[in-house]
């Protein structure tokens, strides 16, 4: 008995030590990035995020163009990807025949498995020239708008947004699919029993799952914010704040990737690390929020379905029965 419990204690301590290492890494990232960016934090304070000058030679650093570019490209990607991703999720979870489900899931998973650098390579040599053609073909009256102003370069915000949209679609759709799967089948059956069409029944399920769907969309947003290589290769790498989709701009991750090994002064390096620190903080916040939303939704489902239906009667995968 005694030997056994001692063995258990050792087991708990050893495995626990490895587990605590994960916490230590996350805390370490926050702590190390803060201490390594201290010069920049002290010198520029909050003004770092409000000024647009990025002049390594003069030692004057402002990060507004980067945070602008990151937010702009990610939101653009979100706008393009969300309808498509939800459409895919609904099609796979609610509409398609069971035999098609696995192949479709596999194909969308492949899209998620392609390395970022391959997206970037494809972006440079295929997407950017195509976008340039599109920009040349844009009619003059549209070019007068600030959204489409500037010369047709190909590289720029539009290319970045498009490639990000392709990259986050599989993430958002797979989470949204899981969320839809967790909606009790009674929700749809009740809707159909009332004479609802497919669209109306799915709308009811979507409404029921709205928190989780928002979580899925935000998870995709978090991915877009931190994406580095593909964006670096197509966004144009020009630090400026512009509303134009055609303008080459920059992103937080891209400036770190491009300039980190060139940072020759302590202040320059610290400014780049500070950008990394804020990127870390933003993505962490977005991820926590989205996980919280998904988690709170699935939890409320469990509570709601417990007294109502014994689990044995609920089929594991809801089939659309219209």
């Amino acid at each position: 008995m005694k030997r056994g419990s001692q063995g258990d204690l050792g087991f708990r301590l050893v495995t626990g030590a490895f587990a605590v290492l994960i916490i230590a890494i996350v805390a370490g990232i926050g702590a190390v990035l803060t201490s390594e960016s201290w010069l920049s934090i002290q010198k520029f304070g909050f003004g770092f995020w409000k000024t647009t000058t990025w002049d390594p030679v003069a030692g004057d650093f402002g990060a507004l163009p980067f945070i602008w570019g990151t937010l702009y490209s990610s939101i653009l990607a979100l706008v393009i990807a969300t309808p498509v991703a939800l459409g895919i999720a609904i099609f796979i979870a609610e509409l398609c025949p069971a035999s098609l489900r696995m192949p479709l899931v596999f194909l969308t998973e492949l899209l998620a498995a392609i390395p970022s650098i391959v997206y970037g390579l494809w972006g440079i040599f295929v997407l950017v020239p195509a976008v340039r053609q599109l920009e040349i073909a844009t009619p003059q009256f549209l070019k007068a708008l600030p959204l489409f102003s500037g010369p047709p370069l190909g590289v720029g915000m539009l290319s970045a947004g498009l490639i990000l949209a392709i990259m986050i679609t599989p993430f958002t759709s797979s989470v949204a699919r899981e969320v839809l799967k967790s909606v009790p089948i009674e929700q749809r059956e009740a809707a159909y029993a009332l004479g609802a069409t497919r669209f109306e029944a799915i709308k009811a399920a979507l409404y029921y799952a709205r928190t989780g769907i928002v979580g899925a969309i935000m998870l995709g947003f978090g991915r877009a914010l931190g994406e580095t290589m593909a964006v670096t290769m197509v966004i144009g790498n020009t630090p400026r704040v512009s509303t134009s989709l055609f303008a080459p701009q920059y992103s937080m991750a891209a400036v770190i990737a491009n300039e980190f090994t060139e940072a020759d002064t302590a202040l320059y390096l610290d400014a780049l690390v500070e950008i990394g620190l804020v990127l870390f903080a933003i993505t962490m916040l977005v991820n926590i929020l989205s996980r919280g939303l998904i988690w709170s939704m699935t939890l409320s489902f469990k509570k709601a379905s417990e007294p109502a239906a014994p689990p044995a009667l609920t089929p594991p995968q809801p089939e659309a029965t219209a």
């Binding site: 990035l33 459409g87 390579l121 669209f199 993505t283």
Partner: protein, 282 residues
């Protein structure tokens, strides 16, 4: 149009939109696949795997150093991440429900969402800056940090799937918790865990951003772990943004090799999962 017909039409449009979304997502997949294969195959030859990069401006040569480099760096990452990931996964499933477990799970999910470039900056400050030397070790550490949360969470989930009766049976025979875990529960879940590890390896082998300023790049053959080391991904990046036609060709070949590695791993993992599910009688 009657109200019912209007509703039916709306429903049909909606179903059509969902089907169209699938097509919209598969078009880029087909496009990327087409270009990577058709462009890559032209530059892919035996030289690509066996030759070193030629000096700038000279046509020909290969990426032998980068391929070996990627294998070494990913191997280092696995060496670091597999024990850590599996042991933490064991802790998470064995001591589920405690406050520390929730904290670890939370940290793992957070770490999983940290942008890879940030991991690169982190490892640069702890493993490159102090010794003032880019190294394969630092690159392996960065990839390892990215793998840990994936392996930990997979291990946890698969251990929880093992029937409680198996653990109870071994405990009833007098096994300690450690014995029950390592000789009964973990072996039962091992095939699934290995699948998870393969998926994690596939994802990590394609990473570029964390290697940019950890293992850096190297145009020469190097197996010294404390020196900068070339990798397939970083080489593809450097070649892609270079002005040389021949390097672009080789970048496509590199991309093809990367995609082949990743897809093979995914396919293997997917088939293994299917077999597992059939074995469990689902």
């Amino acid at each position: 149009m009657t109200w019912a017909a209007w509703r039916k039409a709306k429903s049909a449009v909606f179903v059509g939109f969902c089907g169209l979304s699938i097509a919209v997502a598969l078009v880029p997949l087909a496009f990327i696949f087409f270009y990577v294969v058709s462009e890559g195959i032209q530059a892919l030859n035996v030289d690509f795997f066996t030759q070193m990069p030629k000096p700038v401006g000279e046509v020909g040569g290969g990426m032998a150093n980068a391929i070996v480099g990627t294998l070494i760096i990913v191997g280092l990452g696995a060496l670091f991440a597999i024990p850590t990931g599996i042991m933490s996964g064991v802790y998470l499933s064995e001591y589920a429900g405690t406050r520390l477990t929730s904290a670890v799970r939370f940290a793992a999910d957070t770490l999983n969402g940290v942008p890879s470039i940030v991991i690169g900056v982190f490892v640069y400050t702890i493993a490159v800056l102090p010794v003032k030397q880019f190294s394969a070790l630092a690159g392996g550490l960065a990839l390892g940090i990215m793998m840990i949360p994936i392996i930990a969470r997979t291990t946890e989930e698969l251990l929880l799937l093992v029937p409680g009766s198996m653990r109870e049976g071994s405990l009833a025979l007098g096994a300690t918790r450690a014995q029950a875990t390592f000789t009964v529960v973990l072996p039962a879940a091992l095939p699934g865990i290995l699948t998870g590890v393969v998926l994690a390896l596939a994802r990590i082998a394609g990473e570029t951003a964390p290697l940019l300023f950890t293992s850096f790049n190297n145009r020469f053959f190097n197996t010294t772990l404390t020196q900068p080391m070339g990798s397939l991904t970083v080489t593809v990046f450097t070649y892609a943004i270079s002005p040389y036609e021949d390097w672009h060709r080789q970048a496509w070949a590199g991309a093809l090799v990367l995609v082949a590695i990743v897809f093979t791993c995914s396919l293997f993992a997917r088939l293994a999962t299917r077999r597992l599910e059939r074995l469990r009688g689902r």
